[in-house]
Amino acid sequence: MNAKIYVQRIVVMDEEPARVVVRPERGALASAPPTTPPTSPPYHPDRLTGLALGAMEILLRDVRMDERARMGVVMGTVAGCLEVDREFDRSRRENARYASPAAFSRTLPSTVLAELALYIKLTGPSVALSNGDATFAFAVWRAARWVEAFDLPCCAAVYADHLGRGLRNPYTGEAIAAAEGSCFVQMWLLSRKTGGEELRLGEVSLTRFAGGTHAIG
């Protein structure tokens, strides 16, 4: 597993302050980059999902439909569904017999991943993973490995988190400057096609990050 992997596109969306960053800006993206994140689509109330769907649409703008159907998605998340868990827990505390089924069906770390698959028709392999401060680095690493292992046309490495008030500081790291309590999404599109930036993965290092987790060098 030593083929070169290239980063074809990077999309960052932050909810507060609102921003969208797309790299590289070319073609249609350069002429009309969105300046604010899209609001949640009408069929869904979830802010993080809305942000992730918007980012994924931009990420995959140049990806053919047949490639979308076979591509992979590796999504990193730290807080996962913690905010939805709290919502469901409040509903069952009020009355366990009438706990919210709608909230419960979203109490999985893989919920956003499932929404992306459902609404963008991504039928290839996908996984949600978590590893503290190193979560997104791991997602990029696994996505790069998956391109080759599963012979994928491309694979999206995704970081998506809804960091509740009081949760932002321990997990944001240097790359995230958003207000606490807001949603944040970052996506990299990886493939073997030349033309993007070559991804240089170091050894899986022994570096210990805060909290005792590990990252790639």
Partner: protein, 370 residues
Amino acid sequence: MANGKGGAILRERFRPVYVQSMAAVTPEYASADALWEAWISGGKEMRPRLPGAGAWGRLTGAAIEAALAGAGVEGRACSLILATTKGDIERQVAWMRGADAIGAEKLDWPVPTLSQALVQMIESHGFRPPCYTVSTACSSGIVALIEAALLVQSGDAEAVLALGADVAGDFVMDGFGALKAVTATRCRPFDRGRDGLMLGSGAAACVVSGRPAEVAIVGVGIANDATHMTAPDREAGGLIRAIAAALESAGLEAGAIDAIVAHGTGTKYNDAMEATAFSKIFGGRATITGIKGLIGHTLGASGLMESVMAMRMLREQVVPAVTGLQDPEMDNLNFVVNQMRPMKLRHVLKVASGFGGMNAAIVLKLEGAG
């Protein structure tokens, strides 16, 4: 047979990765041996039971210790992949209620994320990098085994302990109750009278590496339905693609699969979807079994727990009966009913499907079986 187009296809034939040890623990069964004995002897169908305080630590600790001991290695020789849907959810509930009461920033204990559960295991057993948590709803356990195999194949790890664990406490019970997915009677997978799942708790673990051993992982597949957030694809598209990818990566035709350990939750729609997939790919050829009538649905642990039982089937050359099945609704399929079935087994398929259309499949092989 449906081919793998549209799903995951390994470019080259998957190189075998070997299972060095297998462990399984539930509140009712203290070891994989005890669970196996209960299954082949037609053990009692499960009755709902809460796992009790501290269950997460007890179950995961016991499964890790048993898997390491079985492989004759220490934690520092292995990487760790944890598969779970909710982790230590009862601890998380205590945190959430504290956060609601006084504010999250005033709590002086760490947010109980999935990473936090991983950190505790790394600190207590010394696992070596890479270590991470995977979550793909109820297919998580199989995905952990697949990731473990890929880490070994790529040389990113020499040995990996794949651990699947979940605890069905009040939070989970209330949730599935709200979805009205829980049986009022008993779990009866593939039965004409099935009326829902039974929740269970448990932890299962395997150490895998490149050192040849009795049982090998020879094929893997992951695919998504992309049809609904909670309901399975009635055409079984995702599961068919996952199975096709697993067969293709193993270099096998469907006829080479001797037995299948189904996901078999006992819900109307899951079992019908699985039956559709099995019927389309295998016809009535493969022998089918399932264990959730005995231990309940252990969620993120189930794929690994039931893979451990599939490995035991290969070793013992026996297919136990589908616990809870009396009157199969799909009479074109070859279910094992009432009595275990001794038979020659070389390849066993384990599948799982979860919320969000997440499907996974793994082909296990008995080495040296001709």
